[in-house]
Amino acid sequence: MSEAAMTQTDIDVAIQLIGMHKWYGEFHVLKDINLTVERGEKIVVCGPSGSGKSTMIRCINRLEEHQQGQIIVDGIELTNDVKKIDEIRREVGMVFQHFNLFPHLTVLENCTLAPIWVRKTPKAEAEATAMKFLERVKIPEQAMKYPGQLSGGQQQRVAIARSLCMNPRIMLFDEPTSALDPEMISEVLDTMISLAEEGMTMICVTHEMGFAKTVADRVLFMDAGEIIEQAPPQEFFENPQSERTQLFLSQILHNG
């Protein structure tokens, strides 16, 4: 126990993927993924659809199972041990493309559910924390509404607040703005930028290249289940090395 606590404070590596492979049946989705994310680092993952970006980050909190290699999150290796999986999930927040708010609960209940039931936080305290984070994402006045009564951008900000209520050390974003109307994208990105400025460790799968340029420490390009290229944003956008990266960038920057 004390050893684990020590290693956690000592290491400045938040996530480590070593030689990770994954198959869906016969289909080889992820091929030899090696990635080290330092504490406080912000990584943006991009690539064409079906390249395995989402699958990779979903492996980090075990929403998907990997078949080969190692995943170490916060000093804990992911195995079939359910206890360890739950332990990691408590520390890793995730924001989904389709928000996945709980429609039968109010915004406030969405935010307090996990702290109350998983962390055993007293209700009053959990509600105070939830209101704090709802204020941070600038929608405290919606606390008593149901998710179905909010706009997409508001729902996504609630989803971010819901994750933050668990005080995660790492945040995963799985295409958080892809399902939003254009006019709502910036409100979600602003929230993410302010989160990044506070030093949160983040991995974002996104096609928002402006966001990548502003906050990312490193940009990863994935294609056909492999990490093809990774570089700091400036280098990545101005001087991409691989042909596939160049092609991808020319396509998305041409449109956007």
């Binding site: 909190n61 075990r62 929403l63 359910v82 739950d86 999930r89 408590r90 890793v92 927040g93 995730m94 989904f96 389709h98 996945n100 708010l101 709980f102 429609p103 039968h104 559910l113 996990a114 039931w117 998983v118 509404k145 149901y146 998710p147 179905g148 009564q149 989803a159 819901r162 994750s163 668990m166």
Partner: protein, 367 residues
């Protein structure tokens, strides 16, 4: 040339022809000559049927008297129901002990009111009272044998009382068991899944009558000598298991309608399987299954009449037995109309309650 609108158009009330009673009738009943004709014909047919029913059941009916000789009118002879009312309600439950059934009814009614209505917000204690205390108290009340209460054998139970016992026990067993079976059928553990699939498919594949018949006639053959269950208990077990299998499929339908993202979001927050199911997935799945769940309840309530086959005297059987009485020959119509009315009142109440519940649980737009 650019067009720019500088003023906003104000909101106007809708045209009069679209609102109010006249507007509604013009829109729905008399929108075309054919529809007008259909409306008139329908009103004529409905009036004809309704008026003869009313004159049979009320205007020309006989309410006063003791025997069939008092039935002099052309309509229904409700004297038959009146004369046998005690038996129809309680079966052969001893007259001087019937207060015990009434007390049970009142206790259960209070509990159901507290749990089902909106008056009490915190349902914890009402639920414990209704689903734990009331069943235990009712068992001792109805069967007796302790606290100075005389034993009333289940063979003496009957009428509406027996119907309600059968229906409520089966309903309260079938729903939780059905949920467990539905979760089991979707489980990733192969043995659990196989057991649940096997049970559901077997029970669903045979008629309820055969289940009851097997429970009452064949089960005793397989049990060791001297070990025997009460006939009512066997019927209860048979009916509960039968409806649980149906309930399992209804609940599974609801579970499948919940997007996978809900479970994933719950998992990503660190909720384990049972918490994710109990707090996130089941509340939503049960909510969308309410119409089908109540549908199953209503079917189950009416299926209790099948216990006739194993010789239990429920509401229908006891009325039917009454019509074969020499003194009341020819009263079958009155008997069946009365039974139908009683069943309808219960089933319609369940239906209205489910609609009310659906509206109450509705939380904004669905995605």
């Amino acid at each position: 040339m650019a067009i720019v609108k500088t003023e906003r158009h104000e909101d106007l009330p809708p045209p009069v022809s679209q609102t109010g009673v006249i507007g509604w009738m013009r829109e729905n009943l008399f929108s075309s000559p054919l529809n007008a004709l259909l409306t008139v014909v329908s009103i004529y047919v409905i009036w004809g049927a309704l008026s003869s029913i009313i004159s049979y059941a009320f205007i020309n009916a006989n309410f006063v008297g003791e025997t069939r000789e008092d039935c002099t009118g052309t309509g229904a002879c409700w004297v038959f129901i009146k004369a046998r009312f005690g038996q129809i309600m309680y079966g052969f439950y001893p007259v001087e002990e019937r207060w015990r059934v009434d007390v049970g009814y009142i206790l259960a009614a209070i509990g159901l009111f507290l749990v089902l209505s909106d008056f009490v917000k915190n349902k914890k204690w009402p639920a414990i009272y209704t689903f734990v205390v009331v069943p235990i108290v009712c068992y001792f009340l109805f069967y007796g044998g302790s606290f100075g209460l005389e034993v009333v054998e289940t063979s003496q139970w009957g009428g509406l009382f027996l119907t309600l016992v059968l229906a409520s026990v089966s309903i309260f067993v079938a729903l939780p068991l059905g949920i467990v079976l539905a979760l089991g059928r979707r489980s990733t553990m192969p043995i659990v899944r196989m057991l649940c699939v096997g049970f559901i498919e077997f029970v669903r594949g045979v008629p309820l009558i055969t289940v009851l018949f097997m429970a009452s006639v064949m089960l005793p053959l397989f049990l060791p000598e001297g070990m025997n269950f009460d006939k009512l208990i066997r019927a209860l077990v048979g009916m509960s298991l039968f409806s649980a299998a149906y309930m399992a499929e209804v609940v599974r339908g609801g579970l499948q309608a919940i997007p996978k993202g809900q479970t994933e979001a719950a998992s990503s927050l660190g909720l384990g399987y049972w918490k994710a199911m109990g707090l996130i997935v089941l509340p939503q799945a049960l909510k969308i299954s309410i119409p089908s769940i109540v549908n199953t309840f209503i079917g189950l309530f009416k299926d209790t009449t099948l216990v006739l086959i194993i010789g239990l005297l429920d509401l229908l059987s006891i009325v039917k037995a009454g019509t074969t009485d020499k003194e009341w020959v020819g009263m079958a119509t009155e008997g069946y109309v009365f039974v139908a009315a009683v069943f309808w009142v219960f089933c319609f109440s369940m239906s209205r309650y489910s609609i009310w519940l659906e509206n109450k649980l509705h939380t904004g737009h669905k995605r």
